[in-house]
Amino acid sequence: MTDKPTQVKREPVYLRLRGFREFGIIIFIIIISLLIGIRNPRFLTLGNFHDMLLDTASLSVLALGMMLVLVTGGIDLSMESVLALTGMVVAMTIKENPHLSPLLMLVLGLALGSLLGAITGLIVAKGKVVPIIATLSMMYVYRGITFIISGGKWVSAYEMPDSFKEMATGRLLGFSNLITIALLVYLFFYYFVNHTRVGREIYAVGSNREAARIIGINSEFITCLVYIISGALSGLAGVMWVARYASAQNDTASGFVMTIVAACVLGGVSITGGVGTVFGVLLGSITIGIINNALPMIRVSPFWKMALQGLIILVAAIVNIAITRNAEKSQLRRREL
């Protein structure tokens, strides 16, 4: 006791930052942006940055929904199909009723998505079907329904009113409306996850289901809820997607679910549950956005693009792990022996 200083010395900023969970991914984003910027300076312009965020808006919304499911220890593979089905329903609705407000379409997307998510959630929570099996099945079911209701046909740009397409082209304070929507979603969920009881209960269920039960958390409700949320956000992303690309197709976002999972993993979400932050998922989505946006800009052959994407994700994951380990070790070093 006597030889220890009474006041703990403040550590230098870079050391304190090392303990920060998202530090690794931030470093990665900076490094890769600089490298790409050297090869093509246009990458580092504000205009390009805006385009990249615009492309990432739907992904980031989807990743948020996936994160909450992953935090409970589940996974929602049906997200891409919920997106496609909702997008199709919304597109067909707006085609028949062009006078309807785009805002109403967003509400419709959220509502339909929630309903589809609730069905999946009930199968997992009440039916006790393993999440990966339940959501894989629903992925096919919802995709199938998309084909059935559309009769296999697309809804194309000329069939949609300008008011609807303005959701993507219109700007607020210089940012595309889609970016604003994603930002609002993030602000809402940041509050929900960190400052509401139900938000924390999601983490509790993912961290230790039995202990959650003992303190009286209704884990069936929480499980169902996260699928409703992922469904709702898929629905919302569906409307955003259709507005952005001005078309609703039957195979919209087919195979996209793995990109969503990748964004989560890059953002530090644990596949085994209990761990994941809203900020981390945002960074993870942006990383994917950068990779997608930058590779064509530095003229990577389209044949190489996919393999390179995979490699970059792998490197980012490794950098992330290395930095987390390093932070742990430096924390240990400070212990006295």
């Binding site: 006791m1 960190n194 400052h195 983490y203 961290s207 003992i214 009286g216 070093r333 212990r335 022996l337």
Partner: protein
């Protein structure tokens, strides 16, 4: 029968609970007075945990009544029991490893803003700090639960119970993973709570716990109540008899063995953040006790020697030859075996059969050109079952169906089957009942007599003193003293273990 002033706060009348193929509780009677500390004792599998789960609403009784202050109540679920201010501290902390200490304390009953329902983190953190401080625990409320030691996690669990203003506090083997000092802190806290009117139900295998703090003791055996006594009216001897229905005379069957050659020598072992400058030697026939507070680095040293988390510097010599052990597989190839403290997570494959668990580490020795020889396998398992007196219907039953003590024996059987030279046993009798404990001690003594070297990490002072030939004491990652069997006393060990006072 009941004095006028003796009002029971909680009473169980003829409570039974059936599980498939098992009568866990058989018309159990139990009562608890206001401001009383009531101990429940019994062997593993006697029904203590089931009884607790009925009181906390996790299980519902199949027969019988629960009375709260004389009125019949039904605890449909844990939330209802919480409403009656019943809180429990479980044997294995039922916590959320990924969440902070503050959250672990308040998740079931968070402090929220009266109108917006926003969680009031600042207030909760302050309250958590206050609660932990009142327990004398130096724990950061913002720390992640998973980064704490078991003892610290238990303190958080107690803080959690305090935070709901519990009137009935249930503690399921709270001292099992605590050191002497932490145990004494816990005694004081429990007594303080009792004086403020809280009733406590205390489950423990350690009689010193019972005589130290309890007023009354209820004994369970095979799901039945054997009786309730005032602790000053029953001797330890009679208590054991009531528990096991037989007498156990010799608790520490340590044989005197002359030591053989040096099996293991450790020089200047160092691992960043965990331990430093660890040197000792182990000879054939020797039981080397590792004493010290929980968190003093004992288990970490063991894990480094076994290759789970290799050391950063220092030498390990096996039979005089310097070796580099980077994985448990290498350690086993040098004849080193390890019995982990956390047998459920590290020691057993719960859904697999007893046979599979025992033979898993020697499976390659039982094969003939890649084909497994089942009869050899069954022979070994059956021999172990008999040798260690494992109570099980047969070797094909899943380990998950056994009681704690018998599970521990299966872990020991797994080690024995591997024919090792050096055994590292981390808390070999933790959470095990008196009978199984004596059996495990007997096995350890026999193994040493056969020429094995055993390193025994133990937080139980009588066990260390009773079983070790030599004792090494650790404190905050360093060896502070080494005693021979003749030199070692409780006082000396404790002195070395607490060398520097950590708390003001």
């Amino acid at each position: 029968m009941v004095d006028a002033e003796d009002r029971y706060i909680l009473e169980l009348r003829g409570v039974s609970k059936f599980f498939p193929g098992l009568k866990a509780l058989d018309r159990v009677d139990f009562n608890l007075r206001g401001g009383e500390i009531h101990a429940i004792v019994g062997e593993n599998g006697a029904g203590k945990s089931t009884l607790i789960k009925i009181i906390t609403g996790v299980h519902q009784p199949d027969e019988g009544d629960i009375l709260y202050e004389g009125n019949k109540v039904v605890f449909h679920n844990p939330t209802v029991a919480n409403r009656y201010q019943i809180a429990a501290v479980y044997q294995q902390p039922a916590s959320f490893p990924h969440l902070t200490v503050t959250e672990n304390i308040f998740l079931g009953h968070p402090v929220t803003h009266p109108t917006t329902k926003r969680l009031m983190w600042k207030e909760m953190r302050q309250e958590a700090k206050r609660l932990l401080h009142s327990l004398g625990a130096d724990i950061d409320p913002s720390a992640t639960m998973g980064s704490l030691s078991v003892a610290q996690q238990q303190m958080v669990e107690i803080a959690k119970a305090l935070s709901v203003n519990a009137r009935i506090l249930i503690m399921d083997e709270p001292t099992a993973s605590l050191t002497r000092r932490e145990t004494e802190d816990l005694y004081n806290i429990t007594k303080k709570l009792r004086d403020s009117g809280v009733s406590a139900i205390f489950i423990s295998h350690r009689f010193e716990d019972i005589y130290e703090i309890a007023e009354r003791v209820t004994v369970l055996r095979d799901g039945k109540t054997m009786g309730t006594w005032k602790v000053n009216e029953i001797t330890e001897h009679d208590l054991i008899k009531a528990m096991v229905g037989r007498e156990i005379n010799q608790l520490f069957p340590k044989k005197t063995v002359s030591f053989g050659r040096e099996l293991l020598k450790v020089e200047g072992l160092y691992r960043i953040g965990y331990f430093s400058d660890i040197s000792f030697s182990l000879r054939a026939g020797e039981i080397l006790g590792f004493s010290g507070l929980v968190g003093s680095g004992r288990s970490e040293v063991a894990q480094s020697i076994f290759g789970i988390a290799p050391a950063d510097a220092g030498k390990i010599l096996v039979e005089g030859k310097e070796v580099s052990i980077k994985s448990p597989m290498e350690a086993i190839s040098y004849g080193i075996g390890y019995l982990p403290e956390d047998r459920l997570e590290q020691g057993l494959f719960l859904p697999l059969s007893i046979n599979d668990n025992i033979t898993v580490s020697i499976i390659d020795q039982l094969t003939n050109r890649g084909w497994l020889n089942p009869s050899r396998e069954y022979e070994i398992s059956n021999k172990m079952l008999e040798l260690l007196k494992i109570k099980a219907p047969g070797i094909f039953h899943p380990v998950s169906s056994l009681s704690g003590g018998n599970q521990q024996k299966v872990v020991v059987a797994k080690l024995l089957a591997a024919r090792l030279k050096i055994l590292i046993m981390d808390e070999p009798t933790k959470g095990v009942d008196v009978g199984a404990k004596a059996a495990i001690h007997q096995i350890m003594s026999d193994l040493a007599a056969e020429g094995l070297g055993i390193i025994m990490i133990s937080s139980e002072m009588p066990e260390v003193l009773g079983m070790s030939d030599n004792v090494v004491v650790m404190h905050e990652g360093r060896i502070t003293a080494t005693f021979s069997r003749a030199e070692a006393t409780q006082e000396k060990l404790m002195e070395a273990a607490v060398k520097v006072t950590r708390f003001a």
